[in-house]
């Protein structure tokens, strides 16, 4: 292992990491939002909406991620929607992650039982008050572990976006390998960097889980 080579490549790698974090961050925020909205629609009781969301989830989960990326990057311009590489990538990542978040939050919503709904009704809470003060916090807690998995996977999957030329971490490594052939050094480096990101994120997730679960810890 050529440590000096890795050291010299670090500034490039850090630039790539910056892009990885930026696009992942954008996609994580947007997909969480879409996940909550999608789960709400999916359990709205309005059949066409429910079927639409279900169809969306099934489509995304049933097709290869790389195909989805190419579809957005090469397909959308041909129907007149031209996005930059960054926004194509962010869109692809968001669309993919949303499908999984919808599933998590749907399960979270199901965790709020009839008894709690009865309590809110008997206290004459309005629907939005019940949704905001009771259902949302309870559903988010219940969904947190699986949502954390999706968040971590979002960061890892941003690596696919090198295929459309987004200069993120994996792109930087592959690009250098193409003309300097330090395959082991480069792949080892980005693996360590990805692992580090995942480690931080999981730690954050566990901390949050622990904090939010305090009320349920019992005596």
């Amino acid at each position: 292992m050529d440590w000096v080579y890795i050291y010299k490549a670090l500034p490039d790698l850090m630039n790539g990491l910056g892009m990885t974090l930026l696009i992942s961050g954008v996609a994580i925020c947007l997909s969480l939002l879409l996940g909550v909205i999608g789960a709400a629609l999916r359990t709205s009781g309005i059949r066409p909406l429910e079927m639409l969301v279900t169809g969306y989830v099934e489509f995304i989960r049933g097709t290869p991620y790389l195909v989805q990326i190419f579809f957005i990057f090469y397909g959308l311009p041909s129907i007149g929607l031209k996005l930059s590489i960054f926004w194509s990538g962010a869109l692809a990542l968001t669309i993919w992650a949303s499908a999984f978040h919808i599933e998590s939050f749907r399960a979270g919503l199901a965790a709020v039982g009839q008894g709690i709904r009865d309590a809110s009704a008997s206290l004459s809470l309005k629907r939005w008050q019940h949704a905001w003060f009771i259902v949302l916090p309870l559903a988010l807690r219940a969904a947190l572990p699986s949502a954390m998995n999706t968040i971590v996977a979002t960061v890892k999957n941003s690596s696919y976006l090198q295929a459309i030329g987004l200069v993120e971490l994996t792109f930087v490594a592959v690009d250098r390998i193409a003309y300097e052939f330090r395959t082991v050094e480069m792949f080892a480096s980005i693996c360590v960097i990805y692992l580090f990101c995942v480690f931080i994120l999981s730690g954050l997730g566990h901390w949050l889980e622990h904090r939010l679960n305090r009320p349920f810890a019992g005596r």
């Binding site: 009865d118 009704a121 206290l123 004459s124 809470l125 009771i134 309870l138 009320p215 349920f216 019992g218």
Partner: protein
């Protein structure tokens, strides 16, 4: 607040205005009739105990009073207001009617105090300070002021149920519905919840309690109502109900639960 003298059921409430009126109320689940022409009324200040075998429609009946269930035939009036699909009517009635459930149904992510403060603040528009003062007042009445900052899971079942009673009282209802409030409790915790309910009765609350605690019925009830298969089979004062039940089905039921 201490329990001094035992509560004596009052029969002087006969002239009081009607709090709840059910006239010919029926309800079906598909082809299955849960409620069969229920005629039932509660006067202000009255305490009614409803009992009957499992599946006889007790929960369904009292849940119709605050529209947790929708009846399909007949009329329900609460404090003179006819219960309809109108959201504002339902809202009005729910503000007048408190309910306590078998499984407590406290909000698990909120402290006991937050459980008590939420609805008064957002539904009644009470200020935070006033809502908290009111909540502490009721938590003292149910003797758990020291638990105010804890989460429901940190309390015993009996304490949780008393917290649920306090939460309900914080809305200043004038009718309280209880659906088997002690059935989910360990035997040694039943008494503390019943004591709380006896005190509430003594303070003049109008109460409809679905319960099989016959000691409580004897002590507190103005009337005991026996339901079977969606009908009210018998309705009488506790003395008559326990001493001289008219109906065969009532006698069978009593012999089962009193051993």
């Amino acid at each position: 607040m201490m329990m001094t003298a035992p509560y004596i059921a009052q029969s002087s409430t006969v002239e009081a205005p009607l709090s709840v009126e059910m006239i010919g109320v029926s309800k079906w689940y598909g082809h299955f009739q849960v409620l069969d022409s229920i005629d039932f009324s509660v006067r202000r200040g009255e305490k009614i105990v409803v009992c009957g075998p499992s599946g006889s429609g007790k929960s369904t009946m009292i849940r119709c009073i605050n529209r947790l269930e929708v009846h399909q035939q007949g009329e329900i009036r609460v404090n003179g207001i006819v219960l309809t699909d109108n959201v504002r009517v339902i809202d009005q009635i729910r503000q007048d009617v408190g309910m306590v459930f078998q499984s407590f149904n406290l909000y698990p992510h909120l402290t006991i105090l937050e459980n008590c403060v939420l609805a008064p603040r957002w539904v009644k528009g009470v200020s935070r300070k006033e809502a908290e003062e009111r909540a502490m007042g009721y938590l003292e009445r149910v003797r758990i002021p020291d638990q105010a900052g804890k989460y429901p899971s940190q309390l015993s079942g009996g304490q949780q149920q008393r917290a649920a009673i306090a939460r309900s009282l914080c809305m200043n209802p004038d009718i309280m519905l209880f659906d088997e409030p002690t059935s989910a409790l360990d035997p040694e915790l039943v008494r503390e919840v019943l004591d709380t309910m006896v005190e509430l009765a003594r303070d003049g609350m109008t109460m409809v309690c679905v319960t099989h605690e016959m000691g409580f019925a004897r002590q507190v009830a103005d009337r005991v109502v026996f339901m079977d298969r969606g009908r009210i089979v018998e309705s009488a004062s506790p003395n008559e109900f326990f001493g001289n039940p008219k109906e065969e089905r009532t006698r069978n039921f009593l012999s089962q639960i009193l051993h």
